[in-house]
Structures are given as structure tokens and as C-alpha cells.
């Protein structure tokens, strides 16, 4: 199952012109506000009609300007989770959840209500009305409503953006479960790097209506040339496995033969994890530093350097197949004589990795069932 999108659309100020394929798993459209992310998702949902292009979902043509095809929204079978939830205020939570079920084709194999309700932990809310729900509860009901309409693709337009950090931490795991348990592709709009690192199978970075990079999450995030939110928000994603939990509140993670010490993670030993490491938090040294407080000193190879307009340089580092980004000054890069191929050390403070930058790792083999 996959979605292919090619579209051109004129927006105020710039032209949207993109082409990409979203395979199974979570494909994140990543970029600044106003880069055209929401427009793409709305075009897939049929809420706007692009000037030109072609959208194909799992072999079904949803839109083709050349052939004059434009399937109406109601028959596209998308499950759309909006940023502002958009629950129907005059219906109970149960009625909201079952709204899409009414219109799903007969004999469709959507997951039963009980299962979705249990997965999202909203059983106690069923008789309530949306006005009485908290932000996190509202968004969980919105996710359930989208899933219960038996969608062929799930669209999520910054579903966490309106929530505070605690609520984000509450909802993000549900999307991680969806990624691993639902076979339909998920197109997810975000402008938060840590969120992307935790969720994305595929990342498509957008700048002013154009695709800058597309590919596997670790690869695109670790690319020093693709920093759609600017260098300050850049960072790389490492896939690791929980090694051991220690009595002093730390956990050790194994990644590509190296060991990372981080504040204790809740996942049990042996579980796969994703860790997002901000480029600003990584320090570089040409010799292995002694007597420093930072717990993580990794031998790495310089892969690439990218000079920006300012005083900074983005350095891509590799150990095994993993990629790290470090943002240092040009002056330091020159003093250290950094060139691709140089063997150096990356230094990372354990406490600089925030809990919300660590999420469940992707286990693609689990994503075989149709329904969540």
C-alpha cells in the first residue's frame, strides 16, 4: 500500500510543486509553517482541488487533472486527524466515533469500536460531549473517529501542535502504535524535529512549496544539507536498543556497536528505540577528552561539512550506519582542520537528551495487519 502524489498549486506568495511517494508507515511532511504541507494533505483529502497533478492511493486514482478525475472527499476514504480535532459538538463521543462507520462500505473490515476505544483509552468518555473533554482527550477521540471510518490512508495535520508538552507526550505513543500496527500509509504533517524523529518512517522535507529531500527518516534527518527549520532546530535520529538500566537513574543504549548513556528510559531492556539528538548539543574533539563530565564520547568519522551563511558549520558524523549532526563554528572547524574522513570524537551530555526526544523504535515486521 502506498500513495503517490504529484501536484502543482498556486498559493499566495509561492507555487506548490511537489512529487513524492508515501510508502506504508508514517511519511512526515516536514517543514516550516507555510511551506505548503497542509495544502498537500488537503489535496489528498479532496478538500481543495489542485491546479494540476495526480494522486493515486493504493492503485485508486483520486485525482488526475489530465484525465479530469477528481473523486469527491466523501468517497476517498481518508481518515483525517485535524490539528483542531473538529469533533462534532452536537454529538456524543460515541456518535462522533461512529460517524464515519455509517458511511464506510458494507462489509468493510474496520476495527471494532471496542478495540479502538480500548487502544485509545477513551471508554469512560463515550457518553460525554466534546465540549467537556480536555485537549488530549479530544485529540484521542479524533484519532479514533478517523480510524473507525476504515480509511485507505490516514492524514494527520499537526495533530499535536495545539497541545502542551504533557498532552503531546500523551498522544505521541498512539501514533507510534498506529505506525507499527496499521498497514495503511500515514501522511503526517509536522514542524517539530523531535516528533519527526520519533514517528517517521519516511521524511519529506519541504521548503516554499518544493521537496528538498525525501527518504528514510534517519537518512534525511542526518543530512546536513536538509535543515528545513534552520540550523538551530537541526538534529539527527539514531536507532538504538535498550541495553541495561542502571541503579543511578541512567540507561545504556546500544547503537552500531557504540554505547550511549542517557537518563533512564521507560522501555524494557532489548526494545528498539529512536533517539533524536540536536546538532547544538554535540561537541567535537580531535583527541579523546579526559576528565570531563559528559558521559558519552563516541569515536566518529567526519562525513561531510556544510557551511551556512552565518558563523556556523554543520558537520555530519558517522559511526557504523548511524549519522549524527554537530553544529560548531567555522572557526572551530578550521582550528580542528575538519575534513571528510577525519577520525574524531563526538561528545554528548546525557542530560541534554530530553525524554520527549526518545520514542519507541520502528518494528516494520509488525505492520502486517490491515486494521489496528
Amino acid at each position: 500500500m502506498s500513495v503517490t502524489v504529484r501536484l502543482q498549486h498556486q498559493l499566495p506568495g509561492f507555487a506548490l510543486d511537489v512529487e513524492f511517494e508515501a510508502p506504508a508507515g508514517v511519511t512526515v511532511l516536514f517543514g516550516r509553517s507555510g511551506a505548503g504541507k497542509t495544502t498537500i494533505v488537503n489535496a489528498v483529502a479532496g478538500l481543495i482541488r489542485p491546479h494540476a497533478g495526480r494522486i493515486v492511493c493504493d492503485g485508486t486514482v483520486l485525482f488526475d487533472s489530465g484525465a479530469g478525475v477528481c473523486v469527491p472527499s466523501a468517497r476517498r476514504r481518508v481518515g483525517y486527524v485535524f490539528q483542531d480535532a473538529r469533533l462534532f459538538p452536537h454529538m456524543t463521543v460515541r456518535q462522533n466515533l461512529l460517524y464515519g462507520r455509517w458511511f464506510a462500505p458494507r462489509g468493510s473490515d474496520a476495527a471494532p469500536l471496542d478495540r479502538i476505544v480500548e487502544m485509545l483509552g477513551i471508554g469512560h468518555l463515550l457518553t460525554r460531549r466534546p465540549a467537556g473533554l480536555s485537549g488530549g482527550e479530544t485529540q484521542r477521540v479524533a484519532i479514533g473517529r478517523a480510524l473507525l471510518s476504515d480509511p485507505q490512508i490516514i492524514l494527520a495535520d499537526e495533530p499535536l501542535a495545539a497541545l502542551d508538552d504533557a498532552r503531546k507526550a500523551e498522544i505521541l505513543p498512539y501514533f507510534e502504535r498506529l505506525r507499527d500496527e496499521v498497514a495503511v500509509p500515514i501522511l503526517y504533517v509536522s514542524h517539530a524535529a523531535a516528533e519527526v524523529a520519533r514517528l517517521a518512517t519516511t521524511v519529506i522535507t519541504l521548503e516554499a512549496g518544493r521537496v528538498i529531500r525525501q527518504g528514510a527518516a534517519a537518512e534525511v534527518l542526518g543530512d546536513p544539507g536538509a535543515t528545513p527549520l534552520g540550523v538551530r532546530a537541526a538534529g539527527a535520529m539514531i536507532e538504538a536498543v535498550v541495553g541495561a538500566h542502571h541503579a543511578d537513574g541512567l540507561s545504556s543504549l546500544r547503537a552500531e556497536g557504540a554505547v550511549l548513556l542517557l537518563p533512564r528510559v521507560p522501555q524494557p531492556e532489548g526494545s528498539p528505540l529512536r533517539v533524536w539528538i540536536a546538532a547544538q548539543d554535540v561537541m567535537l574533539a580531535t583527541q579523546e577528552p579526559q576528565g570531563i563530565s559528559a558521559l558519552n564520547v563516541l569515536p566518529v568519522t567526519v562525513q561531510a561539512l556544510r557551511q551556512g551563511d552565518g558563523p556556523g558549520v554543520m558537520v555530519q558524523l558517522g559511526f557504523g550506519k548511524a549519522r549524527l549532526l554537530a553544529r560548531i563554528t567555522r572557526r572551530s572547524a578550521m582550528a580542528m582542520q575538519l575534513i571528510p574522513g577525519a577520525q574524531i570524537f563526538a561528545v554528548l551530555k546525557a542530560v541534554s537528551v530530553a525524554p520527549d526526544a526518545i520514542g519507541d523504535g520502528h518494528t516494520p515486521t509488525a505492520g502486517t495487519s490491515r486494521a489496528p
Binding site: 469527491p72 458511511f103 464506510a104 460531549r129 467537556g132 473517529r145
Partner: protein, 231 residues
């Protein structure tokens, strides 16, 4: 009540209630459709439709009544046809209902249109992504959310229909028991010596009906709005 009102006055009140009821009930579906089209669709000729709907509000009622007479009178094209199928409207209470419906229509459409425009189109878009067709979106989202305004519009139209005079008297005349509604009866009573008392009683009835309609619509709209807000 029947003792207090004379038989002629009572007939006028009963007829007015009947006329206003049918005028409101039968024009409501059309008003819903027109209001929805005006609120949510863009098409060439929208301003023309809007103008046509509002025409009875602006035209002198006697002009509207005369046009109705030309179209629906026994000699008129539509009137002759209705006469043949056994549904006469000229000088008949059904004609009074038609005149009242036409005159009340702009008020009803206005109130409903405003309430439909107040429904968040993003909710309708959400319903579309969940598989609801336009018709289902209207029935399950737009209509219930616009309900307070629809109730207000219907009751406003009912009150207007109760009080319609100019178009009614021009179109279907002033026949006691057939087309003599409360305003026509008041007018008739004022033309004859000693009719003043009857006229006063009908004036009081008119005020009571109008106040009752306003209070009822407020109460219903508030209840509907409360239900919408949830909790």
C-alpha cells in the same frame, strides 16, 4: 375564550392560525434549501436568486398581491391549472396561505441563512472526509447546528404570516370564514359603526400571539443552543 370572542372574530382567529401554520410548514423545506444554497454555494445568478427571494420584503404588498392574482387567479396560468386539479387558490383560504408564505419567505430565508453561515465549514469538511455526501452533511451537521436559527426563522415567519394584510386582501379579498384573517377582520370591523369593540379584541389576540411566538422562539432557540454547546 370562544365566549369572549364573537363567532365572526373567532372564525378570523382560527383561519389566521390555519393559514399561518400551513404557510410556515410548507415553505420551510424550500426556505432551508434556498438558504443553504445562498449560504454555501457560489454560482452565476446567485444575486438574482437573492434578489427574487427578498423582493416581497421590499415591494409594496399590494404589488405582490396583484402579481399573485395575475398568476394564480382563475384566469391566471397557474391558477387555471390548480383549479382543474381541484386545488383552487383564488378567493380561497389556500390562497391566503400562499400569499402569507410568499410574504414571510424572505424573513425565514434570512434567519436560516445567517444561522447556516454561522456553522463552521471546517466541521462540514471533516464530515466529508468521513464519507458523508453533501446531503448527509446537511442533515447530520449543518441542520442540527443551525437549528436555533431555523426555529427562530420559522416562528418569525409564522408571526409575519399571521399579520399579513396587503398581499392577502389584494389576492384573495376579504371573505368572512374563507379568506378573512385577523388583520382583514380588524380592517373590516373598523369600516362598520359599532365594530370598534370587536376590532379591539382582535388587536389583543394579535398582540398575545406575537408575544407568545417571540417568547417560544427565544426559549426553543436557547434550549437548542444549550444542547449544541454540550455538557
Amino acid at each position: 375564550m370562544t365566549d369572549w370572542l364573537g363567532p365572526e372574530e373567532w372564525r378570523a382567529v382560527a383561519l389566521s392560525l390555519k393559514v399561518a401554520f400551513w404557510a410556515t410548514v410548507l415553505s420551510l423545506p424550500l426556505a432551508l434549501w434556498v438558504a443553504h444554497v445562498l449560504a454555501r454555494r457560489d454560482f452565476p445568478g446567485k444575486q438574482v436568486l437573492n434578489g427574487l427571494v427578498h423582493l416581497p420584503l421590499i415591494l409594496p404588498p399590494v404589488v405582490t398581491g396583484y402579481l399573485l392574482l395575475r398568476a394564480f387567479g382563475t384566469q391566471g396560468p397557474v391558477g387555471a391549472l390548480l383549479d382543474r386539479v381541484g386545488m383552487p387558490v383564488a378567493f380561497h383560504w389556500t390562497g391566503a396561505a400562499l400569499a402569507a408564505a410568499v410574504m414571510a419567505f424572505p424573513l425565514m430565508v434570512r434567519a436560516i441563512r445567517l444561522s447556516i453561515e454561522a456553522v463552521d465549514p471546517r466541521l462540514e469538511a471533516a464530515a466529508a472526509t468521513l464519507g458523508a455526501s453533501r446531503a448527509w452533511i446537511f442533515v447530520t451537521i449543518t441542520l442540527p447546528m443551525a437549528l436555533p436559527g431555523i426555529i427562530a426563522g420559522a416562528i418569525l415567519a409564522f408571526a409575519k404570516a399571521m399579520g399579513e394584510f396587503g398581499a392577502t386582501i389584494t389576492f384573495v379579498s376579504n371573505i368572512p370564514g374563507q379568506t378573512q384573517t385577523v388583520p382583514s377582520a380588524i380592517y373590516a370591523f373598523l369600516q362598520v359603526p359599532g365594530g370598534e369593540a370587536s376590532a379591539w379584541r382582535l388587536v389583543i389576540v394579535s398582540i398575545c400571539v406575537a408575544m407568545g411566538a417571540l417568547i417560544l422562539s427565544e426559549w426553543l432557540a436557547r434550549r437548542a443552543a444549550h444542547r449544541l454547546r454540550g455538557a
